[in-house]
Symmetry: C2
Subunit: 622 residues, 2 copies
């Protein structure tokens, strides 16, 4: 009897190395599923395709023990030699007994330092917060039977003319209503007393601005009284364990109510983790965070709020909510202050979310003079074109994963060991490269891939249609395999193998860059302007900041305009979230933007196919 | 080894008869504690003194099994013959092994029909609710990619000029955002869409008004669109299992955080039970209740909200909150609509609560012409005197339990078998009586006791100071026992014993009526008016409705004024809660009242002792 026939009955111990985690798993579970019981956040296995056995990114190696026989997908993805070495796909291989599994570092969801800042200034603070020093309080006694709240109320009325105040229930429960001190610092938010404290240690209200991206969550801890950003941090969105792209996650969430709840709590868990980390940097409690603003694409928005998503994955991709949502933080599982509220910037449409609104809000494209293009390159890329106050925007789906290394044979994120810059010499015979952290190269990150393809294009190693010149000495062809260009030979690499870029990789980048380029062209056409007339190009998003503009122009991703028209502004969506956090007026502005921006569905434009096909080509720039 | 030495280790089965409930209890637990694990609401054991072994009301009988030896309190409370018959006090006797316990019906917290109505009309409705019929909706499709919410928003804007609407998160989660029907009924509350439904079955918003009394909870289910009270019901406050008076419950709640939480959840449980029962009568779900208003005395208010109470039980009895509180129903454990809010009418002081405010609100004493006295007789009695718009109020603590039969040897609540009217003839030799439900008498309820004492006073069986004339043939004296007057001999009673009123009982009533009478005198003095000048007396509360005015005047509880100046109005506090439920304006009025009413602490008035001592006397009316 094989171990598999005992599915889900026997529990066995699985050792995950080198992270050194042990878990109990059921016979018949996949390695990926068993690993999802781990503290996913730091040590999970990456599953970009959502565990369908299609991307090969969840590569693991059996060190000891017993697994199921390789699946058809594994046979397809892994060379026989790799299989013999014990390599398997974590999403396919099922546990057949106790075993020890090695998770290569390239298959791990790592903790990354992610760029979260932008060049934008905070908006003027209009958060309705006031701090009062209340003095002359008299100890509550039979001779002066007035509670703390009565005395505070009277003081604020007499001295400051403030009336109609309430006290939050949480505060009423927590604070002794008997006065025992003559002087206190009282914090008032709107018409509610939110805190009392000693005068020498007055309460500071904090807020949390969140850019909830498909891949990354960026968080900003902000003083609501001054608007100052006191700390910022980014982590990978832990939902990534359920698929790297939106569709995989939506599909996972739709598979059952438990799944949907899991997605909701995973996203909330990521935000809670960030809130705790940020609070820790300031020595405060998360309880002191009284307001949050979250921006995200429509799918992230829906998956956090637990809204219906079925209609979001089918044409015409209708969002369940396009109005702004303000609710109790606790109602969506966020552990912030007891009465904390959360505001979600409204999405525009099914694939153009509140993050895009926030990006336009921060970059003030709506107020820009002349023809202005905004591009926010994330896991998806949103494009907005503004001409005389009219704004059209569109979304180029799934352009990002290629830039972030997914779908690329030896692609990886922008972490240590990733090749981030490439120069070719001698017609492509010499290759020089730079890695992040100056470590031995183990793969190619987005900016490295764009650089490399731009250089291959310039050196004529690839044709206009992207075909590798198989006659080139560094281009290798093997029967039954796609051609590949050798970037770093095995002996110079840090990963025990050659680093190459394959014909398929080039195709992925062609699709991704064509999506952006054709979006720009189609929006220009829709507004009756020429691409050359664009006077200002704002490139937002972390990848956009690292991108070398010359290379992006050279591959045809960005229009061939003078470099001085471009600005790389970083995380503008995050900056927009910060603005909405400290200003009611900014929220209303964001809501007006969400209504004003016209969404263009690229795929249904009559010239889409022709423009897209043309954009797949690599330009021959002089 | 006695069973007691194994305390809290062994679990044994306890059979409670005749309710037929079995529970597991630990050796060493009291019978009362073990019974608190039962569904207390209907079958709990009454423990008026809070389980201190002082009131003797938790009488039970051991049918089989083993209990601890009688405690000193039990020896004191129970005659040797009773002890021999197996009678014990549930709060004292500890479980020593499996046993079968009989709980006499008189020791049970019964389900009572409690008077909840008042004579007052509802206020004009200004609840911000609107119902719209939205038509012409077009099925969401690629040709018309607009969600339900977008179409509703557009319709309401175009047809009704309504803008700035939001949709509750709960509704967004629940409703399919794809339009599949051309016509819908949309319910809007304030600026929020709270429901969508088929046009032939439009949504009705319901509200719940609660008078949270120490003894009773009265609840009113009200249509928020019309203000109509569609159902009303009263139950005993299930907190009664932790003590009949406020102080016992406050003491229980202060004994530990678990206790405090238990009190909170018990009160909320009572309200939830009422909400469910009322919803059932209308065939609706409690989810349809979107707003609640709760009035109650300050202790009930604090015990429901989980506010600090330590300062409430010690002079100067400072409430933790005197401002109105509005919060999410779920934050205080109420299971109503998903986004339901609850409003608590603010208290005036430590012992004058929001229920008193609501009583004045409903009876409009503040607007009354001339000198008006308001008396709300409940477990505590609140008194208000209004002269030319100035209002003084006070609380006569703990007057109610005597009227409700607690502290009275054979007292009982106004349920079947209670003597509610008494007439004496032949100088007290003949006694005729009337019982509720025309059943054999088993005890005396409040109105019967007042009647009886008034008749005893009139017949000269008691002296001015309350002493029973021991020479009277129906007055029995026994060495070591207080004198008692025989009301119903054993053979005519329904309880296997004589029904008597003891000298101690008369003393209890003297204390209770003197508290009310001296309150009236002291408030009059404070406002510089004579009691005889009072032009109108409003008597609120269920007991006040059943009370025979002539008898209450005869015992000196109420001032000797012409009967036509009195009105018995029923549950005015409940009526005030109903007003606040359907009208924001009424809430503001209640808040103004709470601020305007001046609280007088009777016990610290210089003449208090003299007036109180005088009020203890029984008047000799001609």
């Amino acid at each position: 009897m094989s171990g598999l026939e005992q599915r889900a009955i026997t529990k066995v111990i699985i050792d995950y190395e080198p992270v050194g985690k042990r878990v109990y798993a059921g016979i018949g579970q996949t390695i990926l599923a068993a690993a999802q019981g781990l503290e996913l956040f730091e040590h999970g296995i990456s599953a970009p395709c959502g565990g369908k056995g299609l991307c090969g990114r969840c590569l693991v190696r059996l060190i000891a023990g017993e697994l199921s026989l390789p699946s058809a997908n594994e046979m397809n993805m892994l060379a026989p030699a790799r299989l013999e070495q014990g390599y398997r796909l974590a999403c396919q291989a099922q546990i057949a007994g106790p075993c020890k599994i090695e998770i290569p570092v390239t298959s791990l969801i790592g903790r990354q330092q992610l760029q979260v800042e932008s060049q934008y200034q905070a908006a003027p603070v209009d958060y309705p917060f006031k701090r009062y020093s209340v003095s002359g309080l008299i100890n509550t006694s039979i001779h002066h039977p007035h509670s703390l709240w009565q005395q505070i109320e009277k003081f604020l009325k007499d001295r400051h003319g403030v009336t109609g105040l309430t006290v939050s229930l949480a505060l009423l429960r927590r604070v002794n209503p008997m006065v025992t001190d003559g002087e206190l610092a009282v914090a008032v938010c709107g018409s509610q007393i939110v805190n009392v404290a000693a005068v020498d240690c007055p309460y500071t209200p904090f807020g949390l601005a969140i850019d909830l991206g498909t891949t990354k969550i960026a968080a900003f801890l902000i003083r609501l009284d001054t608007g100052e950003t006191v700390a910022a941090e980014g982590i990978l969105n832990p939902q990534i364990a359920y698929g790297e792209d939106l569709m995989s996650r939506l599909a996972f969430a739709m598979a059952g109510e438990d799944n949907a709840r899991q997605m909701v709590s995973t996203a909330a868990g990521g935000i809670n983790e960030l809130a705790e980390r940020l609070a820790l940097t300031q020595g405060i409690s998360v309880n002191q965070i009284s307001q949050a603003v979250i921006v995200g694409n429509t799918a992230m928005h829906h998956l956090l709020l637990g809204l219906p998503i079925k209609q979001l994955v089918l044409s015409p991709y209708v969002p369940a909510a396009t109005l702004p949502i303000e609710t109790a933080a606790i109602s969506i599982g966020l552990n912030l202050g007891e009465a904390a509220r959360v505001y979600m910037t409204p999405p525009i449409g099914g694939f153009v979310g509140g993050d895009h609104v926030a990006m336009i809000q921060a970059s003030r494209i709506d107020e820009a003079q002349g023809i202005t293009l905004g591009i926010d390159i994330g896991t998806n890329t949103e494009i907005v074109l503004a001409v005389n106050g009219r704004m059209l925007s569109s979304c180029s789906c799934a352009s990002g994963p290629a830039f972030e290394g997914a779908h690329i044979y030896q692609g990886m994120r922008a972490v240590n060991g990733a090749i981030s810059e490439v120069r070719l010499s001698s017609g492509g015979m010499g290759v020089s490269w730079q890695t992040i952290g100056n470590q031995k190269p183990i793969g190619l990150c987005g900016s490295g891939i764009i650089d490399l393809i731009a250089e291959l294009n310039k050196a004529g190693v690839i044709a206009e249609n992207g075909r590798l010149n198989t006659a080139h000495p560094r281009v290798r062809t093997e029967p039954g395999k796609v051609p590949e260009f050798l970037v770093v030979p095995c002996e110079e690499s840090g990963c025990d193998c050659d680093i190459v870029i394959t014909q398929k990789d080039i195709g992925e980048i062609q699709l991704a860059k064509a999506a952006i380029a054709s979006g720009i062209i189609l929006l220009s056409t829709a507004l009756g302007v020429k691409v050359e007339e664009i006077e200002q190009v704002i490139i937002a998003g972390a990848f956009g900041s690292f991108l070398r503009l010359e290379s992006a122009i050279a591959v045809g991703m960005l229009p061939n305009l003078p470099l001085k028209r471009f600005s790389q502004v970083g995380n503008a969506a995050g900056a927009g979230a910060c603005m909405s956090l400290i200003s009611e007026r900014e929220r209303r502005r964001a809501e007006c933007l969400a209504t004003a921006i016209e969404h263009v569905e690229l795929a249904i434009q009559p010239t889409f196919k022709r423009v897209f096909a043309k954009s797949l080509q690599f330009p021959r720039l002089s």
